[in-house]
């Protein structure tokens, strides 16, 4: 640490953040209204809409909780490279209490008795055990019951919100006081928080996504969603940084080196995601036990076959080759393209994890999904922009900021 360390100034992007926030709100309201309208028109007790809403919600949840993983991991490792982009992840975690609010509508399909006779329930068929697996699913009632399920989500969001509040506020407080001790305290506290986060997020993955097929199970599922979320937050940070730089902010504070590092982590977690997805697929395919392969069987037989090909090709090979070269990672607009691309396939991945469980015989994808996604992501950006409106885009008094700016990839 140089004792003559230069000082940096705060970077308030009020106008840019307001624009983002306003546009997000508009998209949110219009998107959701259109999605609800289209959903109602389908006359399926809104089942298709709720599927679309669930996946859109899961998508923004991976950004919020992915952000929490990002922030905690930066603190526990004492990371220096990320200081100038970390604040944007802190804004992302600031949306977590709002995400709890976005989860509330999901109580409707959970408690609804509609569609039970036609499709065994709207989203979570374990609420009304039926069919071939009724006895098996009934045996899971101590875990899969509505009250405990709701209670778990209250717990998850309470814990995540408290963590998010602490880490966001402490960082923002440092903007004012410049107290170095805050960095040390955040680092110490991140250890326990990471353990709690890993456990709660794994169970949230089982609850929210895996239990849409209550007969199926996979021990790696929590790691799968972690890998996907951690990949998604890096892509989000690239896009968000590009947006603010276009608006004239963070000009010299986020350099090519930071894009390069973000790109390297995008590459690493593209590979990590593929590793986890392959492990799960290969072991179930090879074991060939009916109760395990049933889940993949509906995915690799028509009409889901083509969607399933997107997973290895679209979510691994294409982005892997796309961001492998350092030249791509060092050209922000190109990296931005790949970040956007990965977020699109990330959505497809989440959709693929759930939709075939509910629609084994048809691919329901249409405008409902698109507008629900626009709506929910819009609302997420609305809240994200609101955070950014009030605070500096830069943790400018973080004691590690000089190191963050001094580094060069060679």
């Amino acid at each position: 640490m140089n004792h003559t360390a230069p000082t940096y100034s705060a970077d308030f992007a009020t106008a840019a953040a307001s624009r983002l926030s306003r546009a997000g709100f508009l998209c949110g309201v219009v998107g959701l209204a259109v999605a609800i309208g289209l959903g109602l028109a389908e006359g399926d007790h809104m089942r298709h809409f709720w599927l679309s809403y669930l996946i859109a919600f899961a998508f923004v949840l991976t950004l919020g909780v992915g952000g929490l993983f990002f922030v905690l991991i930066q603190h526990i490792t004492g990371a220096k490279w990320s200081v100038t982009v970390r604040r944007q992840a802190e804004f992302a975690i600031g949306t977590i209490p709002f995400l709890a609010f976005l989860a509330l509508p999901l109580l409707v399909p959970l408690f609804s008795h509609e569609g039970v006779e036609e499709f065994g329930g709207l989203l979570w068929s374990w609420v009304h055990p039926h069919g071939d697996h009724a006895a098996l699913i009934t045996s899971k009632v101590p875990f899969l019951n509505v009250n405990f399920f709701v209670g778990r989500f209250v717990g998850y969001f309470l814990i995540w919100s408290l963590m998010a509040r602490y880490f966001k506020n402490a960082s923002i407080e440092q903007d004012k006081t410049g107290e170095h001790e805050l960095t040390v305290r955040m680092r110490t506290r991140s250890a326990l928080c990471l353990i709690v986060l890993a456990l709660t997020y794994s169970f949230a993955a089982f609850d929210l996504l895996m239990s849409t097929d209550p007969a199926w199970f996979s021990t790696i599922f929590g790691v799968y969603l972690f890998g996907a979320s951690f990949l998604a937050i890096h892509c989000f940070l690239v896009l968000s940084t590009l947006y603010y730089q276009r608006q004239g902010h963070l000009k010299k504070m986020v350099t090519i080196e930071h894009y390069h590092d973000l790109g390297k982590l995008m590459l690493a977690f593209t590979i990590f995601w593929a590793y986890i997805a392959f492990s799960q697929y290969m072991l179930y395919w090879y074991g060939n036990i009916p109760e395990e392969t049933a889940w993949y069987l509906i995915r690799i037989t028509s009409p889901w076959t083509n969607w399933s090909w997107i997973e290895p090709i679209g979510h691994f090979f294409i982005p892997f080759l796309g961001i492998l070269s350092r030249h791509i990672k060092r050209k922000p607009p190109l990296l931005g393209f790949w970040a956007f691309y990965i977020l699109v396939v990330h959505y497809i991945d989440l959709y693929w994890l759930v939709a075939p469980n509910l629609y084994p015989d048809t691919v329901p994808f249409n405008g409902v999904e698109v507008f629900a996604l626009i709506g929910v992501v819009g609302l997420f950006l609305w809240k994200y922009g609101q955070q950014a409106k009030q605070h500096s885009l830069l943790a400018h008094r973080d004691p590690l900021i000089s190191d963050c700016l001094a580094f060069q990839n060679y």
Binding site: M1, N2, G78, K80, W81, L136, S139, K140, F143, H180, T183, V184, R187, A191, I195, A198, L199, S202, F206, A215, F217, S218, T219, I220, F221, G222, V223, K264, I271, Y275, I276, S279, Q280, M282, L283, Y284, Y286, G287, I289, E291, P399, L400, S402, D403, A406, F407, Y410
Partner: protein, 473 residues
């Protein structure tokens, strides 16, 4: 040689300063100090007395290994405890144990390099050496357990008159390729990193023989700008290639179990769980070796208390990842509603091998929790004991996985309690003899610390002032 053996450890106040951590190299004023403290070991006429004691002991165990293998070859695999239903006994347990140990070295030199962790420089060289020797020990077990060892070349896909081909669908064959690739790349990485240091030893050699031998392996290195440029490029490329290997080897080892339809083996978390366990056991072995080595050879200024504290944190983190996998397996055994899976896990925790299961949990999950306390992370004797616990726990983890899933299989009439024979136990003990013999020879003749890399993290390598931590790249 042991000029630095008695240097003062870093004080608590230095270690507590997380924002301005103490320098990675202590008490060394110049680059020459580093060269001197590393090279003087190989150049000394005699080693410290304890080296001779340890080497003799290691040789004895190596002799035991040789005797056991001779006995095995001349009598047959019946000398082991392997039988129905536990057809996979000690050999696979020992194989997985040693492959696991062999993970830390390449993780430290490749993954931590890509993560720009400057502290890796103090420990990477001998961790890599440890990796190579551990993989040698691991490779021994599949080779000797085939029974008719004189036809072991049948495992290679070579055309022969019997039209016999290895089964490419078997993960055991994938293992041959995975471990083989890992060994080759780790060896190359280790050797390539050593070339500049071997050249240093060549240039300092006092005898013709040494000059000649070090000279051959130094590949004509002359320290020119061009050489360094290529060296660093090659290092980066090898690091990038070795990183997926660190994950793939133990993933493939986990497939040996996980592709089978045996309850307790067939579960999707096995690949990352095995990788985490391998890093865990590998780091424990690095601590087990580095704690005596730094005192014996005088590396306390290069492997400081800060390094040791960081390694304790890695142990704690990976130990909890392993604990996460134990918990997920248990939960899913219930959640799946599969009664065989459920039985296996209850049997593990409360059946005839409960003692092994709880040894595993105590050593792997509970014992590292003491590292939450910084006093524990700075108490050398305690760390040494915990590192041994982790080694024991990780051996038992493989024992629990292998034996508890097999000894009570689908056919209750064949249930049986597995007991190792004395040959099993002596072969395991002998494998430590092989490991330590190779390791002690390495300590005697080769640069134990990456001289040039350590110099790179010293403040004097950055004449324009450093920003706290010095990145060597």
């Amino acid at each position: 040689m042991a000029k630095y053996a008695n240097v003062n450890e870093l004080s608590d106040s230095q270690l507590d300063n997380l924002l301005e951590p103490p320098a990675l190299v202590q008490n060394a004023e110049t680059f020459h100090d580093i060269t001197e403290s590393v090279c003087s070991i190989a150049e000394a006429d005699r080693m410290p007395r304890s080296w001779y004691v340890l080497f003799t002991l290691a040789l004895c165990f190596l002799g035991v290994l040789g005797a056991m293998i001779f006995h095995l070859f001349t009598t047959g695999v019946g000398v082991w405890g392997n039988n129905q239903p536990v057809a996979w006994g000690f050999p696979i347990v020992n194989f997985v144990f040693w492959v696991g140990i062999g993970h830390a070295g390449t993780l430290i030199s490749a993954v931590l390099y890509l993560f720009r962790q400057g502290w890796r420089t103090g420990i990477n060289r001998f961790s890599e050496a440890m990796t190579i020797f551990a993989v040698c020990c691991a490779g021994l077990f599949p080779a000797i357990h085939v029974g008719r060892v004189w036809v072991i070349y049948w495992v290679f896909p070579i055309p022969n008159q019997m039209d016999m081909w290895p089964n490419f669908r078997s993960p055991l064959l994938w293992d041959v390729f995975a471990v083989g690739t890992y060994f080759t790349v780790s060896l190359l990485f280790w050797y390539m990193g050593m070339v500049p240091d071997l050249a240093t030893q060549r240039d300092r050699a006092k005898t013709k023989l040494r000059q000649f031998l070090y000279g051959i392996f130094a590949l004509g290195w002359n320290g020119s700008n061009r050489h360094w440029h290529r060296y660093e490029r090659a290092y980066l490329l090898l690091a990038a290639l070795a990183t997926p290997l660190v994950l793939s080897v133990h993933s493939v080892v986990s497939f040996d179990f996980a592709v089978a339809q045996i309850p307790g083996w067939h579960t999707t978390i096995f690949p990352p769980y095995f990788v985490a366990g391998a890093i865990f056991s590998g780091f424990a072995m690095v601590l087990t070796l580095s704690i005596p080595a730094r005192a014996l050879f005088g590396f306390k200024h290069i492997i400081t208390m800060r390094h040791i504290e960081l390694m304790c944190k890695v142990i704690m983190c990976t130990g909890m990842l392993v604990g996460y996998a134990y918990a997920m397996e248990f939960f899913m055994a219930w959640y799946s509603g599969n009664r065989y899976e459920g039985f296996t896990f209850v049997n593990r925790a409360f059946g005839p091998y409960a003692w092994a299961y709880w040894t595993m949990v105590s050593c792997n999950v509970i014992s590292p929790q003491i590292f939450w306390f910084k006093r524990a992370r700075r108490c050398i004797p305690l760390i040494f004991v915990i590192s041994i616990f982790v080694n024991i726990g990780m051996w038992f983890e493989r024992f629990v996985i292998t034996v508890t899933s097999l000894n009570r299989d689908f056919l209750p009439s064949s249930w049986n309690y597995f007991s190792p024979t004395i040959v099993d136990i002596l072969t395991l003990a002998g494998s430590f003899g092989l490991f330590f013999t190779l390791f002690l020879l390495f300590c005697r003749w080769l640069p134990q610390v990456a001289i040039s890399e350590v110099k790179n993290v010293m403040p004097s390598a950055h004449p324009h002032g450093n920003h706290g931590e010095v990145n060597h790249d």
